[in-house]
Amino acid sequence: MATRIITYRDALREALREEMRRDERVFLMGEDIADPFGSAYKVTLGLSPEFGLERVRQTPISELGFVGAGVGAALTGMRPVVELMYIDFSTLAMDQIVNQAAKIRYMSGGQAKVPLVIRTQGGMGRSSAAHHAQSLEAWFVHVPGLLVAMPSTPYDAKGLLKTAIRLDDPVIFIEHKLLYNTEGPVPEEEYTIPFGVADVKREGTDCTVVATSRTVLMALKAAEILEKEGISVEVVDPRTLFPLDIETIVQSVKKTSRLVVAHEAPERCGFGAEVVAQIAEKAFAYLDAPIQRVCGPSVPAPFARHLENSIIVDEQKIADRVRRLVRGEL
């Protein structure tokens, strides 16, 4: 199987292009997504020339309106992929996401389906400050009726986005602004990645680190650092936060007896807490040390670069905690 090295951004674009070619009902909506601007992070650049402005439909700044339109279109035969430029703006569309998209199937007793994908991105690292740097995945994972994906690599991004578009359930697809330029191998042949399957990004025996989105890369770097110290770290990337492949994490903890959960979002009631709770229930007898969370502090994102960097979960913070855990200091 031939692979090439492409960026996370390119991988997403390929997924959109392939799915739009495959199914006429797939169309895009969002702010500034047509050429020449091609969306804030250039993911949709190049698509409007091929598919036209009806299917690459630019919207005014009406998150509530165009996400709602996405819901309506999905309910009546179309397969929209709506882009929220920043996950911070999802707040404006919350009623349509949480009260409408997530619940219509249930409330209608199964009559409706909502094949809507909301693509968005979050994360710190660009000094974008508090309104443009959040990680809000926990909100969406908590809502029954939504599916949530957070790819960390180009390979995962493409495979998961294709699946998201093909599913008949509403998906919140959360990218990371600092991942768009990262590169990785992506097969030339078509492939999809199922939801609900975690990926062991690195095998190890002394400690399991579960991480999401960009923090996966931090965890892998931490594992490299620790390997030189003789500590073997297993990095598990859930890829989809719901459905969550807890079984893979359980098996990993069984092997290592230690768990660290890491994410950029604030620690309090973050997604990590869900993993911790499930592991405490399901892997009780395998844990030989208290479960650790290495997450952002529960503060908004500061503007100044050095302040922002101080609260991003990086490889040093992860390595430090794993080290202390494995040494039996915790």
Binding site: G230, L287, D288, L330
Partner: protein, 456 residues
Amino acid sequence: MPFTIAMPQLGLTMEKGTVVRWLVAEGQPFARGQALLEVETDKAVVPVEAPAEGTLARVLVPAGQTVPVGAALAVAVAPGEHLPSGWTPPAAKEAEAPPRAQAEAPVQAPAPAAEAAQAPSGPLQATWKARALARQLGVDLRRVAGSGPGGRIQAEDVVKAAAPAPVRAEARATPTAARLAAALGLDLAGIAPSGADGRIVEADVLREAAALIRRAQAGAPAAPPGPAGVARRIPLAGVRGITSARMAESARTTARVTMFREVDASGLVSLRELFKGQGLQVSYNDILVRICAVALREHPEANARLGEGEVEVLDRVHIGLAVDTERGLLVPVIHDADRLTIPEIAARSAALIEAARAGRSRPDDLTGGTFTITNLGMLGVEGFTPVINLPECCILGVGRIVRKPVALEGDQVAVRPMLTLSLAFDHRVLDGAPAARFLGRIAELVENPLRLLAAG
């Protein structure tokens, strides 16, 4: 009613004693007067006897620990009784009185057992994995020393505490896993099972092996390859020194030949039972001493030594018994063993062995032997080639009695208790045929001990 075994006052100036080793295990019954454990004071190693018959319910002070006089060493119960559930060990001061059965909050750090651990007060600190392993391996968490922060008990602490742990019914392994563990030299008790029904599977064993290797590789700072250094030095002094010198000389000078003979020990066993039935504690060694004494009388050439350019056949039979003591190998001698009855031999040997172990042997006790018996049967050995105890010319090695299938007359097969006799002799003094005949007489008497009655 539970009763306590306490550290006895063995001497006027004794303030504390060290438990050397337990002779009875938890759950085992014992008789009144039976030695339960050995304790060491400044001067000697002494057995502690049971004040009454009972069953040892809980050992409170393991071997190697030192406690004050009067401290509770163990708790026993009367025959047929059990410790009440929720029973907790008494505090040190109450050691004299039998502890009250109580239903208090059972989980608290017990004082006597916490000697080695930094027992934290309050609820027991142990990780979830440690608790799961403790349940599986049958380890009482209250008796485990925790190596984690604040004395928290980690999984490896439980595994250590469990050794030597018999694999309990729950901690069973698949046959492949068990074979693999045995081949790799891994203790199944230390392996966490991943099998659905709590069984250890092959993957678990492999994982454990891999983890051990990794830890070993990662653990020590990389030391350069080299010869082994000295971990401990034992001076060649005292008994060790003497033994060393004498063994060397014997090996160097004697022309040693060992011949083996497997005998049916049924008669020996029956005879011992007979004595027991009479209330006489007689060991196999005691009977063998008598047998050898008779045989030596009949084969005086085996009761000889090498003199200056001549063989000296000796006129009295003094039989030495090899005894393993703290100080090393001692051989107290039963003088004129041929003139003593078996009960007399038993009494004499008991006294001599006790004295030897206590370090109280008199010099006369340890010299003048003309023949030696060395018994490694209780350690599982069947046959061996003992070093001749110069200036003697023969030594009889006795192995363990093991039930084996044997062919009887008419090709019938029966299971019998078989015993291997190993007679090593100095060919300078004694030839093979006479040695064999001597051994043959011993064998005959072992198999037909009642013939002792007809002997002189």
